[in-house]
Each structure stands twice: as structure tokens, then as C-alpha cells.
């Protein structure tokens, strides 16, 4: 039986976080009342002209540089013609043969291996509006309304080479792109708001062959899970057809997330002829080498560089460093905690452990964390100083999450300071020894394990405040 391998390429659309739209001065704020952020230009009224928002070009260039692309000194806009009621001009102003950036790459990691995924191009374009149907679908709707608020929101489209072979790689690629865009602060990357979405191409070919198979494209996948699930399904579907001796039809398919299947939308025969032409209402974009160099210089530290730094400077494991650097906000949080003097390994554990757990549970971003980086740092320092134990720290952390109080305040208010005073601990140890003759006897008869029970009793009596190292030491001295 033939073994098949998948060949996967992604087109990622990312909305840029400019304050105003790409060709007019309307606000880009998400969730505004319908059709309140519109003007003659983004409504495509007769006679209007687009004017490029310079920030969009700036953001696209930054993205290009961060994704290791060559920035084109001469770039232009084109019109892509098609009919759709949510794009009032009935053409999309996009870039065709001279995009702003080309020939880039990013490195992804799956199963501990690094792989380079090439990026074909990055181009700028305008987003379309939103159709709001009175029914569930356009077919069972008596009427459909259009919200043009999103029309003209700036997008970059990042097109990859078909370098991915598995759904995991596709997911890792999309995650990496998201993380880079977040780092350079050009997109909010809120996938639930459609800030980031992907069209995915996939074809199958027998392992060991070069020739590409017939591909299917799946449009508008706006979560990592959807990308992975849709690819899993589609690869399986194509494999079954090929194994039955059938042929794959080149087509565009949609992913039905509810049913977990892909459905045919249109075949190659029905494919659009976009009839591209240069946009005559906009002048070409000229970017000098000096400007490109200046952008490069001002770019923040990117995830890969940051990851290397965490491994080299703090001795974090590659895995921990990857997790911490996935999002810029988390990496900056980590930097802040360690800058305050907290131990890096402890900081990484707390951020990836308790903090991540609480954030996930409340569906919060790290920037919204009630536990500030400063407070977490102070708490870790209390552990390092031996003022509190790791166990008490969990309590302190919980309190900080609830009350936003500083760890010092919590420790003081709740009397959580660790007892390191040997005399005080010895008193409790003596009490425990006299109250528990049987475990003491067991220990002396050779059952060394029973010391654990005695330690537990001392901790309990001290309300967890006794320094466990001192407790162990004293118990051993007295029993041996």
C-alpha cells in the first residue's frame, strides 16, 4: 500500500492594529454599533478616492522584516475584481505582482526538531465588511444586512510556501507567525475577533515523490484547533479517495466546525478570474534602503532571539524558554520578574504553573493578571530568603490573585512567616514525639519511613510554618 505525505501551505490574514482604516480616517475599533465607522471612502461611494494610511505600510514593513523577508523598494497596489455585497466597491484594493515583502522564512519546532518554513510574500489589502443575515444562513434569510465597519480595516496576507507536512507543523507555523506579529506589536492577533485567520491548502503525494498532487483549499479558519482539525479531516478524506483509486478535484472547501467535516464550495472550473489591474488611484510605495535599515534597527527582540537568551542567560530548558517566549506579554512579564531579582527557574515554574492555570481558568491575558510581575517577584524572593516555604507560597499566591495585595502584606496579615527558630521548632518536635509513641517505636525498629508521618505532624502543629529542613534535621537528631 502506498504511503502518502501531505503538502500544506498557509495564507494567513492578519488585521493590523492601526487606529484608522487603510484608505480613510474611519476608526477600526472592534464591536462598535453597526455602520458607525463608515465614510464615503470606505462605503465606496461614487467619486471617492483612497489615500494610503502610512502606518499600514510601516506595519507591513515591520512584519516583513520580522519574518525575514526582503522588503521591496518599489511596491504598488492593484485592484482584485469580484462581486460581493460586503465589499462596496466590488473590487478589493490589494497587491498583486509587486507586494511589499517577499522571500522570507520562519523556524518552527515540532517534536523537538527545528524546521524552516519559507514565506513567499506578504502583501497589504483591505478587509471586507460583514453580512448579517436575518436567518441562520443566506439561503433561509428573508433579508441580509451589511455592516461596513470592518470594510477597509487593514490586513496583511502572509503566504507560505507549501513546506509543511503535518497538521502539527501547520499549527506550529501559525502559532509562530502569531507570536512574531504580537512581538512587533502590529496586530492584536485576537483570533476570536477574526484578527488572525488562515486559508489552508493541502494536497497528498506518495512518499518519496516530488510532483505535487491536486490541492484543496479551506477558507477562513480562525483558530489553531480549526486548522489542525480541518487538516486532519482533509488529509484523511483525500487519502481515502486516492486509496480507492479516485482523483482529487481541485476545489475550495469550507470547514464545518460543528460537524467536523469539510464541504465543497466551488471547483476550479467555477474559480474566479480576478482580473487584476494596477490601482490607478494610488501612487506606488517607494521605500528606501535607509528607511528599511531604520525599521530593522528599531525592531524589538523577536521570539527566537529571546528564547536563545533565556536558555543562555538563565539556564532555562529549551522547552520552558519556548513556552515563556510564545507571547511577548508573557516574555516581558518573565523579564520583569527576573529583573527584580527573582530566581529564573522559580519564575518560569510559577508563570507556567499557577499563574497560567489561573489565567486560563478565568480566560485572562497575562497583561490582565491581578498578580503583577512585581508582586510575583517579591513572593519568589520571600521563598528564596526562606521567609515562606513553597507550600505557603501557594497560599500567598492564591491570596494575591484574589486581593491584589502584596505578598509581604499577606504574609504579615495571615502570620505566614516560616518558623526557622530552632528552639521554637524543637518545642513542637518534642511535643509530637511524646504524643506519638507508636511511630517513634516503628522508626527505632527500623521502619525509617515513619519519619514522614512525624514531619507531617510537626508541620500541621506549626500550621505549615515550620521550616521543613529544620524539622527533618531535629527529628533525625532526636530519633537516631
Amino acid at each position: 500500500m502506498t504511503n502518502y505525505e501531505a503538502v500544506i501551505g498557509l495564507e494567513i490574514h492578519s488585521e493590523l492594529k492601526t487606529n484608522t482604516k487603510i484608505f480613510c480616517g474611519c476608526a477600526t475599533t472592534f464591536g462598535a454599533p453597526q455602520n458607525t465607522h463608515v465614510c464615503p471612502v470606505c462605503l465606496g461611494l461614487p467619486g471617492v478616492l483612497p489615500v494610503i494610511n502610512k502606518r499600514v505600510v510601516e506595519f507591513a514593513i515591520k512584519a516583513g522584516i520580522a519574518l525575514n523577508c526582503k522588503i521591496n523598494n518599489y511596491s504598488k497596489f492593484d485592484r482584485k475584481n469580484y462581486y460581493y455585497p460586503d465589499l462596496p466597491k466590488n473590487f478589493q484594493t490589494s497587491q498583486y505582482d509587486l507586494p511589499i515583502a517577499e522571500y522570507g522564512y520562519i523556524d518552527i519546532e515540532t517534536k523537538g526538531k527545528t524546521k524552516r518554513i519559507r514565506i513567499t510574500r506578504i502583501h497589504m489589502e483591505e478587509d471586507a465588511g460583514k453580512l448579517v443575515h436575518s436567518g441562520n444562513t443566506i439561503k433561509d434569510s428573508a433579508s441580509s444586512n451589511v455592516d461596513y465597519n470592518r470594510t477597509g480595516v487593514p490586513l496583511i496576507e502572509i503566504v507560505s510556501e507549501p513546506d509543511m507536512r503535518t497538521p502539527e507543523e501547520a499549527r506550529a507555523y501559525m502559532e509562530k507567525v502569531k507570536s512574531v506579529l504580537e512581538y512587533i506589536d502590529v496586530s492584536n492577533c485576537k483570533m476570536e475577533e477574526g484578527n488572525l485567520r488562515a486559508d489552508v491548502n493541502v494536497s497528498l503525494r506518495p512518499v518519496g515523490t516530488e510532483k505535487l498532487g491536486t490541492k484543496a483549499e479551506m477558507k477562513n479558519l480562525n483558530s489553531f484547533k480549526m486548522v489542525e482539525n480541518a487538516l486532519d479531516y482533509e488529509i484523511e478524506r483525500q487519502k481515502e479517495i486516492l486509496e480507492d483509486g479516485g482523483c482529487i478535484v481541485q476545489e475550495t472547501r469550507t470547514w464545518d466546525d460543528g460537524k467536523g467535516i469539510t464541504l465543497s464550495m466551488r471547483t476550479k472550473e467555477q474559480a474566479q478570474d480576478y482580473r487584476y489591474m494596477p490601482e490607478p488611484d494610488l501612487v506606488p510605495i517607494i521605500t528606501t534602503d535607509e528607511e528599511i535599515a531604520a525599521y530593522k534597527k528599531n525592531l524589538p527582540e523577536l521570539p527566537d532571539a529571546r528564547r536563545t537568551r533565556l536558555i543562555n542567560d538563565f539556564g532555562l530548558s529549551a522547552y520552558d524558554a519556548s513556552i515563556i517566549t510564545t507571547s511577548r506579554a508573557m516574555a516581558e512579564y518573565f523579564d520583569e520578574v527576573t529583573n527584580k531579582g527573582a530566581d529564573a527557574k522559580l519564575a518560569a515554574n510559577w508563570i507556567m504553573g499557577d499563574l497560567a492555570k489561573e489565567l486560563n481558568a478565568e480566560n485572562k491575558n497575562i497583561s490582565e493578571s491581578p498578580v503583577s510581575a512585581k508582586n510575583l517577584a517579591d513572593m519568589i524572593i520571600l521563598i528564596q530568603k526562606g521567609t515562606i516555604s513553597s507550600k505557603i507560597a501557594k497560599k500567598v499566591f492564591g491570596e494575591m490573585w484574589q486581593t491584589k495585595k502584596t505578598p509581604e502584606t499577606i504574609v504579615k496579615e495571615k502570620g505566614l512567616v516560616q518558623i526557622t527558630d530552632t528552639v521554637a521548632i524543637e518545642k513542637i518536635v518534642d511535643e509530637v514525639l511524646s504524643q506519638n509513641p507508636k511511630p517513634v517505636d516503628d522508626y527505632k525498629k527500623g521502619n525509617k519511613k515513619s519519619i514522614g508521618f512525624l514531619v507531617g505532624q510537626v508541620m500541621k502543629k506549626s500550621k505549615g510554618k515550620a521550616n521543613p529542613v529544620v524539622v527533618n534535621k531535629l527529628l533525625k537528631e532526636k530519633l537516631d
Partner: protein, 486 residues
């Protein structure tokens, strides 16, 4: 004194000298429109009420001792593809029959700031596609010199309005000759400025890379004055040029001594109308007699210009017009589903010429034909531009006819699109090259129809054009003739 026969600068002086009020002047023109526009058909929409209101405020200003600008209180007309806030802007199309723009074109803002009086919106070929104003969806405009003849197009309404004294001045738009050719057919002055000199914001696009707004006036002096008002960079139009505007009235001097005039052999072709040929040649020798030096030049790619134009302009038009789908504004014809609705709307509401160009444009841009047609046309465009660059190394200015013939009879070639397209042969190359050009009267045919000469300048050198045109104009009386309806 017949007010309506006067050029705008004379009317301006009268206002300034308080020989007449703006209201009187406006009423005078409104009365004339009401009596005679039924014979000419210059206006699609009359704006008498707002015109009078503006006139009243102008008179109040004058009474308060305010200084007035050139167009302040002067009644004029605007082509109906220039958006006017709150007033219908139809493009002479059923598609936009009831379209009222919620904004002003940038030139309208400038006119309003000046307190110019707008008498109304003028007839045109639908979406500016055509050379005779016979393609208006509403009615045909008539040539004031002989109402059986076309006024030219597509700014035929504006040209006829000025020629017949239904407006003291007008604005038109020129994509392939749409200001110059009707100006020559109607015996007035019409100028297409350098591409980008006047903002296109609010001009309903036909072919964006070729469209340009410009004045239609009774003489060169008015043309220079209006150019002063409408020119300049506009941040709403990225293709507008960021350069200071000279005072064009300073070019209103009679002096062509040593001026090198180029006569392109490709514009004086075999088979062109003898009367046009003779009149333009005579104008050239008149200029020579006044001190200009005449040189024969060649613009070898002129013969390909029409073909290139009729690919590029429809290609742009096809995308510019795709927004008229019955969804958001304009006309709608219902249908079973959205595709049927769009199809029905566009089938019913676009005229034949518009549909013809949409089809040509889509064909030229379609995947299989893009290289063969559209790309090749763009290459020709570059070659045409280079022809002019080379020519302007040797000469300061170029003189040519505007059209191969004087105005023709209404209906005579409307059913022969190719013949109609050939009418643009003398004007189209300038639009492809983005150059400025003017048309001014240089004689009359035996049938009493005006003949226009075209003066073509270097990019942004409207000044030399105005100087040459003014010098020639002052040497004859052609511009003083009036043959509007009486």
C-alpha cells in the same frame, strides 16, 4: 448689453464696480436657461434656488465692503459627474438617476469657498463615455451653432451651456478629450490641465488614470483665472501633484517671440477634414508671423494611441463601475436572488456604450488576454509618453487640431462606435501622457461650425499654453462670435 454673451472676467468687473448685483446677474442667467435650455438641453439638474441664495449672500458681502474673488457671484455650470453635496449627481445614467452625494467634490469645495454661483449640473455622455453627448441616458444636448449638430462630448452640456450663454463658465472632465473636443465643436475655450494638477476627489470615475477636471470658458483669460481657483494638491487625492500653483493670469501676455512650436506630422493626416486642416495651419502661420519658430516634429506612436486608450480606459472603467450593483445605492431592479438582482440592475440601468466598454474592459483584463491586450496597451502608453518627452526636447509647445472634423449631425455616427472612437484621435494621446492641452477657436467651416486648435504643453507647463493661446486669441475675433439661441 447682453450679459450672457460676456466672458466671466467682464461680468466680474461689473460686479466689482457695482454696475450690477449678483442676484440680478443670476436671475438674468436663470431666465435665459428657462427660455432657451429646451432648445439646447445643457442642464440635467437646475439649481436656481441655491444659486439665488448664494447670490444674495454675495451681494450682502459686497454691500459690507468685502473684496470679491474672481468667481464670486459669477453664474456657472458643473458637469454632472462632479459630486455636489445634497444635489443629484447622475452621470447622465439611469443607474445614478436619483443619487444625491453626501459630500462635495474637492473642486466644489473650492468653488463654494469662492462663493461661485452654480446654476446647475450639465448633461454629458453617460459616465463620460462618448464624444457627442448622444449617450446621455436622459436626452441629447444640441450644438448652439446649429441644433441639428452634436455639441461634442462627453462634456457637451458644459460646452453648450457656455457657448449659448446659459452659463458664464463651466467645469467639465477630460478622459480622452472630453473637454477639448466639445470646446472646439462649440467654439469656446476648454482646457485639460496636467494630470494631477486638479484634484479628482469627488469626480465620479470613468478611467482614473486619465480623468482630469478642467474649465470651459468663453476666452483664455477666464480659463487662466478658473485654473487658478481649481488647481492644487489635495490630500484626499494621492495622485494630485504637490507643487505650488503659479498665478496663471501672469501668463496672459501677448508674446510668442522665439517660442518654438512643434507641428506633429501624425496629427495632420491624409483624409482629415480640409477645413480643419486649413484653419489650424493658418493659425500656426499666424503665430509664426507673430514671432514663433515653427518646427516639424514626429510623434510616431500616435497611431497606436487610440487602440491603447480603448483598452486602458475600459479596463479601468470596468472596475470603477463594478460598484453599481443595486446593493447599496443607486438604482435597483429586483431579481430572484442576489445575482439575478445585480444582473437585472446592470442590464436595465446601464446604456449600450457603457455596457460595451465594461465588456471590452473585462475582456482585456481577463486571465487569458491580459498580456496580449492590457499589458501591451500599457507599453504603448509609455511609448506615447516618450514621444512627447523627445519632442519637448526640441520644442516648447505643440499645436494640432482637436478633432478630425467639425461637429457632425446628431445621429450620424452614433451607431458606428469605431467611427466614433476615431474622433478622439487628436485628443487621446495627451491623456495617455498626462499632458496639459487647451482648445480654442481658430475658424469656422463653410456651414458656420466652429473649428478648434489644440495647444499641447509640457507637464505642468500650463503657463506656456496660456501665453500662446492668449497671444493667438488676441490676434483675431473668433472668440467674440456668438451664435447661441436667441
Amino acid at each position: 448689453m447682453d450679459l450672457y454673451k460676456q466672458p466671466a472676467h467682464v461680468l466680474h468687473d461689473m460686479l466689482e464696480n457695482k454696475e450690477i448685483t449678483a442676484v440680478e446677474m443670476t436671475k438674468n442667467f436663470i431666465a435665459r436657461i428657462n427660455s432657451f435650455d429646451n432648445k439646447i438641453g445643457a442642464y440635467i439638474t437646475k439649481m436656481s434656488d441655491t444659486a439665488l441664495k448664494t447670490a444674495e449672500t454675495v451681494d450682502a458681502d459686497i454691500a459690507n465692503g468685502k473684496k470679491i474673488n474672481f468667481l464670486t457671484g459669477l453664474p456657472g455650470a458643473v458637469k454632472d459627474n462632479i459630486c455636489t453635496l445634497g444635489t443629484k449627481t447622475t452621470c447622465a445614467s439611469e443607474m445614478l438617476k436619483n443619487f444625491v452625494p453626501p459630500y462635495n467634490a474637492s473642486v466644489m469645495e473650492k468653488l463654494n469657498k469662492e462663493k461661485a454661483i452654480i446654476l446647475g449640473k450639465t448633461n454629458m455622455d453617460e459616465f463620460a463615455m462618448g464624444g457627442s453627448t448622444e449617450n446621455s441616458a436622459f436626452f441629447t444636448t444640441h450644438n448652439p451653432w446649429n441644433t441639428e449638430y452634436v455639441p461634442g462630448g462627453s462634456s457637451g452640456g458644459s460646452a453648450a451651456a457656455v457657448a449659448s450663454g446659459l452659463a458664464a463658465w463651466a467645469l467639465g472632465s477630460d478622459t480622452g478629450g472630453s473637454i477639448r473636443q466639445p470646446a472646439s465643436f462649440c467654439g469656446i475655450v476648454g482646457m485639460k490641465p496636467t494630470y494631477g494638477r486638479v484634484s479628482r476627489y469627488g469626480l465620479i470615475a470613468y478611467a482614473s488614470s486619465l480623468d482630469q477636471i478642467g474649465p470651459l470658458t468663453r476666452d483664455v483669460t477666464d480659463c487662466a483665472n478658473i485654473l487658478n481657483i481649481i488647481s492644487g494638491y489635495d490630500e484626499k487625492d494621492s495622485t494630485s501633484i504637490k507643487k505650488d500653483i503659479p498665478d496663471y493670469t501672469k501668463s496672459l501676455v501677448q508674446n510668442v517671440k522665439g517660442l518654438k512650436i512643434g507641428i506633429p506630422k501624425e496629427f495632420f493626416i491624409e483624409g482629415m477634414n480640409k477645413e480643419v486642416y486649413t484653419a489650424v495651419k493658418k493659425a500656426v502661420s499666424d503665430l509664426e508671423a507673430m514671432g514663433a519658430e515653427v518646427r516639424n516634429i514626429s510623434l510616431p506612436h500616435t497611431k497606436y494611441a487610440i487602440a491603447a486608450y480603448y483598452l486602458i480606459a475600459p479596463a479601468e472603467a470596468t472596475t470603477n463601475l463594478s460598484r453599481y450593483d443595486g446593493v447599496s445605492y443607486g438604482a435597483r431592479v429586483p431579481g430572484e436572488d442576489i445575482v439575478a438582482m445585480m444582473t437585472n440592475t446592470r442590464t436595465a440601468k446601464f446604456g449600450d456604450e457603457v455596457k460595451r466598454r465594461i465588456m471590452i474592459g473585462n475582456y482585456a483584463l481577463s486571465a487569458g488576454y491580459y498580456d496580449a491586450y492590457y499589458l501591451k496597451a500599457l507599453k504603448i502608453r509609455t511609448l506615447v509618453k516618450e514621444d512627447y518627452d523627445k519632442a519637448f526636447e526640441k520644442v516648447d509647445i505643440i499645436v494640432a487640431p482637436n478633432a478630425p472634423t467639425p461637429a457632425y449631425k446628431i445621429g450620424s455616427i452614433i451607431n458606428d462606435p469605431l467611427q466614433m472612437y476615431l474622433q478622439d484621435i487628436c485628443t487621446v494621446p495627451l491623456n495617455l501622457a498626462g499632458l496639459p492641452g487647451i482648445s480654442l477657436p481658430c475658424g469656422f467651416s463653410r456651414d458656420g461650425l466652429p473649428i478648434g486648435m489644440q495647444i499641447i504643453g509640457k507637464p505642468l507647463d500650463e503657463e506656456t499654453i496660456i501665453k500662446t493661446a492668449y497671444t493667438y486669441e488676441q490676434s483675431n475675433d473668433f472668440h467674440k462670435k456668438f451664435s447661441g439661441v436667441e
